[in-house]
Amino acid sequence: MRRVAVVGVGMTKFGVLADKSLREMAFEAFKEALEDANLAPKDIESVYTAINADHFSSQVSPGASVMEYLGLNPKPNIRIEAACASSSAAIRLAWLDVASGLHDIALALGVEKMNEAGRTTAEIIQFMGTGGDITWENHYGPTFPGFYAIFAINHMHKYGTTKEQLAMVAVKNHYYGAMNPKAHFQREITLEQALKSPMISYPLQLYDCCPISDGAACAILASEDVAKKISDTPIWITGLGLGTSSVALHNREDYATIPGTVEAAKQAYKMARVEPRDVDVACVHDCFTIAEIMAYEDLGFCKKGEGGKLIEEKQTYIGGKIPVNVDGGLKAKGHPTGATGAAMTYEIVKQLRGEAGKRQVPNAEIGLTHNVGAHGTYVCVHIYRR
């Protein structure tokens, strides 16, 4: 296998982007990445387009539609679906293309348009709920906040995690979201505001939940030879892990952990030959505040059950033990499902290059992305190094 580097990244602002179509968002992120890498469209040899759900865009095979709009036909393209981890899965496959020698330059692009005129939150929640088991769970009206609320109650019961600790994750991520011009929400919130917000699915309140966002993000990967020629700041992909967990809750052993995360992390750390304590900056999948607390533990940033304490001690702020989601996370930056993994990569690449501005983690050398599909059904952990 050859060494592979990220040589260019691009992303749109995340938010309710009423004036942009799926393809226009993809184009915007693609253009930024090409300019970042100093490449032309003709240089792209292979493409993986990550889109979570056809239903959001109403276009069957939306990857093909994006490929056409980028002007990249007849080059290779496959649309990748791994729920909310789709674009991390696309990066994994682009990495394989380049590492194997099949191609020298590959593009992984994620995009999602969740908001469309006339579509209500209750309809989007209903559709998202079908990510749970359709035969045995769906007729109880499950929701994604509900799945993570079920994990939260179990975590609180087992480890004494508090609602205040959950809210502290939201406060941190809004704090950093306010520094990110591409974030869906660019304003700080107080602990009191979070704890007084409407109940969504007990114990999770409004500020425990990420928003429903539109957006696109992408990464261009290149072989070592090419990367060294075209880039002064290649960011190397040194570890990749992919884990899975059951769709149906009744087939889980433990509700205070994401088994797929534990597996993916183990693989990625082993491949990168690093330990959790070596990671300087991490983007983890905080679709809900409890998800970030479980990620701290499942990724080995603290012992199992001590995630609540880690945020309470502010150890995941810049200057703490391990800065997490200093781009605002899914919570404040937004979560256009198919684009989220590539957007995490965007942030880690900027951090490792020292280009993250106000939210720069000083001297960050090793970065980690943790991207969860659905409630853990697919999990990608990637490790990056400058």
Partner: protein
């Protein structure tokens, strides 16, 4: 169970698959059935037609007693479109004494009175929407 096509705003109920048809028939009669692998003895609830432990598809139907304890739960306040009229409702996960776990509505108890580890029993219920489901109810 009625069969409906996927849509953003209707309840998705999958058709009773041929191999599991008996489960849905018995449920209507008030019985909750699981499957047990004849080869290795693994009990499946909800039922499966195939055993992924020993790869056998030779299964026995067994009735589930349904006693157990509640492991975790949530009170759904913001519901999917098709369920907004019954919100708030409680979805819980229970550990059955027989081994398997089950996800279902927890009913006949006020949400604020629900406790982790409380004793529950799985029973059948014809619900307001005409669909017969298995439901967790407090016991003892």
């Amino acid at each position: 169970m009625a069969v409906t096509q996927f849509s953003f705003d209707v309840r998705v109920i999958v058709p009773p698959h041929t191999k599991l048809k008996k489960f849905f028939e018995e449920l209507e009669k008030g019985k909750i059935m699981g499957t047990k692998c004849k080869k290795c003895g693994k009990l499946y609830f909800p039922p499966q037609a195939d055993c992924n432990k020993c790869l056998s598809s030779d299964m026995d139907w067994v009735e589930i007693k349904g006693t157990g304890k509640l492991i975790t739960y949530t009170v759904t306040h913001v519901a999917p479109k098709a369920y907004t009229n019954i919100a708030p409702y409680v979805i819980g996960v229970a550990q059955l004494d027989e081994g398997p776990k089950v996800t279902a509505w927890v009913r006949d108890i006020k949400p604020e009175e629900i406790k982790v580890n409380m004793k529950v029993k799985l029973v059948t219920e014809k619900c307001e929407d005409g669909i017969t489901r298995y439901i967790l109810k407090p016991e003892g």
